[in-house]
């Protein structure tokens, strides 16, 4: 009996350890809120948006060519959904690893590209790690339930980074539209080629 207990204890330990090192969120997980500095110097949390039914959280940066290719589409997404699914951009790139991604650079970049949404700096990279963001731009669509925030979609914006006019699958729009309509999301997870987030220890 003791051996059996010991074995199951080891099993349990491995299970707990496994869940601790889990790499970010899967669709359906509860997302954490954050308090990060915006380009206007103020701290922003998801809890500040009382009316929001959810969020389009995008890990993005100033320097990645994919981010640049998607810049106009990100501004358009924000305009389209700002009422009930506000867009929140977060830059988690370490400026030591990626020149051009400092806070000052972010302020300039947001101004130049007419950002009308928060562009937050994740200086410790803790939020990017918690969410499991890997690329830029990497989108997490969150759905607000009466108790918390659920991850509803993880992935890329659409299927054509090269050219906005040849897009056939609008993954993020489809996900938010489905949430608005109370319908299931057809494609809740996608992958795309992109720039890796520039981690501090890299």
């Amino acid at each position: 009996m003791k051996i059996v207990n010991f074995v199951s204890l080891i099993g349990l330990t491995i299970l707990i350890a496994g869940s601790l090192v889990k790499n970010g969120y899967e669709v359906g997980d509860t997302a954490t809120d954050f308090k990060l500095k915006n380009i206007d110097g103020k701290l922003v949390s998801l809890a500040d948006f009382k009316e929001a039914k959810g969020f389009i959280v995008i890990f993005d940066c100033n320097t990645c060519p994919y981010s640049k290719a998607y810049n106009g589409r990100i501004v358009a997404l924000s305009k389209k959904y700002s009422k009930d699914f506000p867009l929140i951009a977060i830059n988690a790139n370490s400026n030591e690893e990626s020149q051009g991604d400092s806070y000052e650079d972010m302020v300039k970049y947001a101004k130049k590209h007419n950002y009308d949404f928060p562009y937050l700096v994740d200086a410790t990279q803790e939020i990017a790690r918690a969410y499991g963001a890997t690329n830029t731009p990497h989108v997490f669509v969150l759905n607000r339930t009466h108790t918390d925030l659920k991850v509803a979609y993880i992935g890329t914006i659409d299927d054509s980074p090269r050219n906005a006019s040849s897009v056939t699958k609008r993954y993020v729009e489809d996900a938010v539209d489905a949430l608005r309509a109370g319908k299931p999301i057809t494609t809740p997870k996608t992958k795309a080629i992109g720039c890796g987030i520039r981690w501090k220890d890299a």
């Binding site: 890997t134 690329n135 980074p161 996608t190 992958k191 795309a192 080629i193 890796g196 890299a202």
Partner: protein
Amino acid sequence: MVRLEKLLSEISTPTDEIRVYNFWATWCAPCVKELPLFEKVNEDDKDVKITLVSMDIDLDPNPEKVYKFIDRKKLQSRVIILEAADPNSWINKIDQNWSGALPATLIINTKTGKRRFVNSAMKEGELEQLIAAVKI
């Protein structure tokens, strides 16, 4: 220019050498930085076949930039420019653990199926260790 089907069939065809596929792009600074590590193994270890898979045309359909880059850096390893639409449909076929971020490297013993996958820049000596790990 190589189509996805050709790349996937290569990865699944048994050959004598260990195969290394490094996914990179000319615009990707950490990719460019680690290229010499692959060039070195290509030069030193004849049991290993290095293939540098450029993902440049995912973003820019003109491959000229890649040709110029190869000339300028005098790359000796085999370089292919992957032509593959809708990466969401095939990234998992290369490796389930690939987020899609560059650089990424697959090291595979096509005879035994032993493989390693690295979704970040290589550290000095890491590539040699991973090759040794799939050899046995």
